[in-house]
Symmetry: C2
Subunit: 360 residues, 2 copies
């Protein structure tokens, strides 16, 4: 799957996502929608992809909480959609790069994701947009652009974001200062699954704040430029960190690997923190027998709902046991069936792609 | 070497030592000795073992501090002898079980050491005693017994001790209570290298307090009996610990193994604590790929003065680096040359057995 790949500038940039917010002109916006309207949105969009063998429809409304959560852990759906009581749906490509959320805040949220820093996300999101627009009439104002539920999305309706791994910025206490300067440049920074610079795993999302009065190209170019600068800064800080505290850095990184591959119980929080150390260790050349792909695979498999979903494990304690088994895989051969469980039940629940999904 | 062996009741009893305090009748006791008297003690005792190819004389007075300390780390000489300004010497057998300290508190301290609980220590100490007595006239009173420098040793002059590993007693907070009851039975308990129940590594020395008005046999039998009870209690507590917190115990033990075999920096204190976890793990059958012999070998090699002595490393930081290399050996093949360095200099300093010594 794309989210285990080591992409462009992969030592710092884990992934790129371009998201376009769209609404259907003939249907009321979310706050005023009836159940029937919600059904219509889903109907129209499914029709737009009829005959497309790659884009499968998933009925999010009928999924269990942990199944939704597992999708959110991979950023395929938004946290908002996990708890939504609307009739929600998802059009998802086989490779899980293209994901069109239906009845999230807007009628339609087109997403395209890729590993590393990848301009292709913009190209592909636009392609999905064109495909929808061929059969659906979007709410559009010639002066303003695309109309959206929340005014912060009006105009292009585009949010381009990168997930960046910034351990050296955090360790050197320069993250907060750099994040503040980013916000003066019209960028927003969030933790992996929430706000603030206290992100477990030292993973942050950087995205554009402004969607109005700029073109999609301009939004992308700015993100690309700023990301490039962040990458340079982080690389420089890592180099400095390693030069100034060679043995302490090696010790930290190698202990984390030792614990991940030996512990019997592992919380999600600890796994994320220690995997962050291992990722740093790989990028500094300290750890050579773990690939970034393997690390990514293991990281996604340690997320709580993903464990529930893959192994039908509902107790937190048993998840900690299972998670410790999963992190042991780090130093084993690149592809392991052990991580994938055999969760027939979820398929019955309507999430047909389930089996492949977790076969990272 | 004997101290890496896994002896009788080796899951709890690391080693046994029998020590006999003796003084030469014609020479003043320690506080009143001249340098010449000290030389005479050494002379007479060396003569008693003349022609004995196994017992080598080592001139402790001419050794460097860390060389003496390295001997003390293996309990071959006492901590008092490390800092002594007297002319001190040692008669040491090739297998390092028999060690006769000269000009410690008493003129002569005969020691015999063995792994596990081993009555043979008494037999062998008596044999050494007889051998000395054949040519040296001991200070002896028919009413009281052997006369010693400190009144607490008068009588038999015998101290029998066992080193016991009591992690479950410590974890269950029952160590202090049990140690107090031992003292009412005339036994003394100390930490591995000092007083108190706060011993790093959960290793304690139990020895007889009373030396007067009892026979050597009685002293031994009592120690043997009490040690047997301690062993039973500790085994029972370990079983209970593992039953009550299976995963937490496995987690603790396996994390320690993971850290010992992966860390880049390792302090002596941490090594001792984590090796204690591994020892517990071996005894509970959690860790199967580390032998007790290997564990003992690694433990002795991590002691600070032993590292100085083996590798000529004088900086604490570099010792922490070397120690982390040493603990990595835990899961490697049983015999490794890497631990033994090549310290020619010490041989020149008069400690001829040095090279073999650390070849555990």
């Amino acid at each position: 799957m794309w989210y285990t790949e080591n992409g462009n500038m992969g030592d710092v940039v884990l992934s790129t996502r371009v998201r376009l917010a769209r609404n259907i002109a003939s249907i009321p916006f979310a706050p005023r929608m009836t159940k029937k309207n919600q059904g219509d949105v889903i109907e129209k969009c499914r029709k737009a992809f009829e005959g497309d063998k790659d884009m499968k429809f998933i009925d999010i409304s009928s999924m269990r909480d942990y199944e939704r959560q597992a999708l959110a852990e991979k950023h395929i759906i938004s946290p908002e959609m996990v708890s939504s009581t609307r009739r929600t749906g998802l059009l998802l490509s086989g490779d899980e790069r293209a994901a069109i959320m239906l009845n999230e805040e807007d009628h339609i949220r087109i997403q395209y994701m890729s590993s590393g820093l990848d301009r292709n996300c913009l190209v592909e999101a636009n392609r999905l947009d064109d495909k929808l627009e061929a059969s659906v009439d979007f709410a559009f104002d010639p002066q303003i652009g695309y109309l959206t539920c929340c005014p912060t999305n009006v105009g292009t309706g585009m949010r381009a974001s990168v997930m960046v791994f910034l351990p050296a910025m955090v360790m050197s206490n320069s993250a907060d200062r750099i994040f503040r300067s980013l916000s003066t440049l019209g960028m927003t920074v969030r933790g992996l699954y929430g706000e603030g610079s206290n992100s477990a795993g030292n993973i942050f999302q950087i995205s554009n704040q402004v969607t109005l009065g700029v073109s999609e190209e301009e939004i992308w170019n700015k993100l690309e430029q700023i990301t490039g600068e962040i990458v340079e800064k982080e690389r420089e800080l890592r180099k400095k960190l390693y030069e100034n505290s060679k043995y302490e850095t090696e010790d930290r990184v190698l202990r984390s690997l030792g614990i991940l591959t030996n512990a019997r119980l592992m919380s999600g929080q600890e796994a994320l923190a220690r995997l962050s150390d291992v990722r740093l260790g790989i990028s500094l050349g300290i750890i050579k027998d773990v690939s970034v792909e393997k690390l990514n695979e293991v990281m996604y498999h340690t997320f709580p709902a993903t464990i529930v979903n893959t192994f039908n494990i509902f107790s937190a304690r048993e998840r900690d046991l299972k998670r410790a088994e999963i992190t042991k895989e780090l130093t084993k051969a690149p592809c392991s069936d052990d991580l994938n469980g055999s969760n027939k039940e979820n398929k019955a629940a309507g999430y047909a792609e389930q089996g492949d999904d977790l076969n990272a």
